[in-house]
C-alpha cells in the first residue's frame, strides 16, 4: 500500500505562480512536519507556470538548515517540473547546502578579499 502524501503546490499558493518568498514559506511549513516525522512526502508542481529561486529557497532550500541531506533525499520527492525548473531546483539545493555549511564563513571570506579601502 502506498501511503505517501502528495502536496499540490497550486492549492497552497492558490494559482500557477510560485513567485514570492511568503508563498514559499507557506509551502515549507507544510512540508517540514512530514520530514520531521520521518514521513515521505511528494510535492506536485503540476499546473505551475512560473517558478523563481526566491520561492524555492524559502520552500525547499531552507529545509537543509534543519534536516540532513540524507534525510531530505530519502523522504522528499517532486513531480511536475520540467527539465529547466528541475535544474533551477538543483541549483537552489546546491546553494542551500553550501549556505548552511558556511553560514558565517561566506561573509568573512568576502570581507577579507575586499578589504576596507576607499
Amino acid at each position: 500500500m502506498n501511503d505517501e502524501t502528495v502536496i499540490k503546490v497550486i492549492d497552497i499558493v492558490k494559482g500557477p505562480l510560485c513567485v514570492s518568498t511568503e508563498d514559499g514559506q507557506i509551502l515549507h511549513d507544510e512540508i517540514a512536519p512530514y520530514i520531521r516525522g520521518d514521513k515521505p512526502i511528494t510535492i506536485s508542481f503540476v499546473g505551475v507556470t512560473t517558478l523563481i529561486s526566491a520561492f524555492l529557497n524559502a520552500a525547499i532550500g531552507q529545509l537543509y538548515g534543519e534536516f540532513s541531506e540524507d534525510k531530505i533525499r530519502q523522504l522528499l520527492k517532486v513531480k511536475g517540473l520540467d527539465q529547466d525548473d528541475l535544474e533551477l531546483l538543483k541549483r537552489v539545493n546546491d546553494n542551500a547546502k553550501i549556505y548552511f555549511k558556511n553560514k558565517k564563513g561566506y561573509d568573512l571570506a568576502w570581507k577579507d578579499e575586499v578589504g576596507d579601502e576607499e
Binding site: 518568498t21 529561486s53 526566491a54 541531506e69 535544474e87 538543483k90 546553494n95 570581507k111
Partner: protein, 290 residues
C-alpha cells in the same frame, strides 16, 4: 525650484542625469518643483519608473510638482504609458501596443504585478519569442520584483514601466524602489562602512551572496538574471545609490555615480529576436536532485 531635464536614455548617462535630479530635490519641502522638459530631446519611456520614484520622494516631502514643456513626441509617449496622468495630462490610447504602462504597486502586490504582466506583455514582441525565452524572461522579471520587495526596506512600493521597441527587437522593463539601496544593505551586512558602492553591487551579483539573514538561503536571483541576459544578448542596468552596473552581452561595466541615486532601479532589456536554443547545462535526475 526649477529643474531642467535633459536627455534621459536607459543608459549610464540617463541614470546619472536622474541622480542629479534626485540630489537637487532631496531636501526641498513645501515648495513648487517645476520639472522643465524643454531641453529634453529624448526620454526612454521605461525610464518613467525611476523618474516616478524620485518624484514620489519629493511629493512625500509636501512639494507640488509640475511637469512643463515636453516636446510633442515625448508628451505622447508619456501620456500613452500613463506616467503623465498624475500631472494633469490625460492618457492617450496606445494604438501601436508598444507600452507597458507605468504603475506604482505596493510591496505585497505580487498578484497585481502578475496581472499587469499578463495583460500588457502579450503582443509586445512575445510572438517573436520562443516559449522557453518567454518563460525565462517572466522568471527573471519576478526575480527582480521579489528582489526589490525583499531588500528595499521601504514601504513605499515599487514603480514599474516598460517599452517595446519593435524595430530593434528589444523589450525594456524597469523596476524601481526607493529603499536603502544595495550598497547600504551590503555594507550593513558585512559591517564595512567603507566598501565602495560598485564593490557592493559586485558582491550582490555573486551567486550565494545575500544580505538576508535567518533560515532562508538566497543570493541567486541576480545571478540567474545575469546568466539569462548574457545568453540572450540583452542588457541589464542596475543603479543603486552611487553605484551603477551594466551588462551588455557578456561585457560588464561598473561605474561610480557622482550624485546619490535613491533606492535601486533595475532595467532589464531583452533581445526579443533571440533564436538561441536554451539548452540545459546538466541533466538533472530525481537521484541527483537533493
Amino acid at each position: 525650484m526649477i529643474f531642467s531635464l535633459h536627455k534621459v536614455k536607459s543608459d549610464a548617462d540617463g541614470f546619472m542625469h536622474l541622480s542629479m535630479l534626485a540630489e537637487a530635490t532631496q531636501d526641498i519641502s513645501d515648495e513648487k518643483l517645476r520639472l522643465d522638459f524643454s531641453r529634453c530631446t529624448h526620454f526612454d519611456a521605461n525610464m518613467a519608473a525611476p523618474l516616478a520614484a524620485i518624484l514620489n520622494h519629493a511629493t512625500n516631502n509636501h512639494n507640488y510638482i509640475e511637469i512643463v514643456n515636453p516636446k510633442r513626441q515625448i508628451e505622447e509617449i508619456l501620456r500613452k504609458n500613463r506616467f503623465l496622468r498624475n500631472y494633469g495630462y490625460p492618457p492617450l490610447e496606445d494604438v501601436n501596443h508598444t507600452t507597458l504602462p507605468f504603475v506604482h504597486l505596493a510591496n505585497s502586490d505580487t498578484k497585481s504585478f502578475a496581472s499587469y504582466l499578463s495583460l500588457h506583455m502579450n503582443g509586445k514582441g512575445i510572438p517573436q519569442m520562443s516559449d522557453r525565452l518567454e518563460k525565462e524572461f517572466r522568471r527573471s522579471i519576478f526575480e527582480v520584483f521579489q528582489n526589490c520587495v525583499s531588500h528595499s526596506g521601504s514601504e513605499r512600493g515599487v514603480f514599474v514601466c516598460g517599452q517595446f521597441y519593435p524595430y530593434q527587437g528589444r523589450l525594456d522593463l524597469t523596476i524601481s524602489d526607493i529603499g536603502v539601496g544595495i550598497p547600504t544593505n551590503v555594507r550593513r551586512h558585512l559591517r564595512n562602512d567603507k566598501m565602495l558602492p560598485t564593490d557592493a553591487i559586485k558582491w550582490a551579483l555573486m551567486e550565494g551572496n545575500t544580505t538576508k539573514t535567518g533560515e532562508q538561503p538566497g543570493g541567486m536571483g541576480l545571478k540567474l538574471l545575469k546568466d539569462f541576459i548574457e545568453f540572450n544578448g540583452g542588457r541589464i542596468i542596475i543603479a543603486s545609490r552611487q553605484g551603477l552596473y551594466q551588462l551588455v552581452g557578456k561585457k560588464e561595466v561598473y561605474k561610480k555615480l557622482i550624485s546619490d541615486f535613491p533606492g535601486t532601479t533595475i532595467n532589464l532589456e531583452i533581445n526579443t529576436k533571440d533564436t538561441h536554443r536554451y539548452r540545459l547545462r546538466s541533466e538533472v535526475t530525481p537521484e541527483n536532485l537533493f
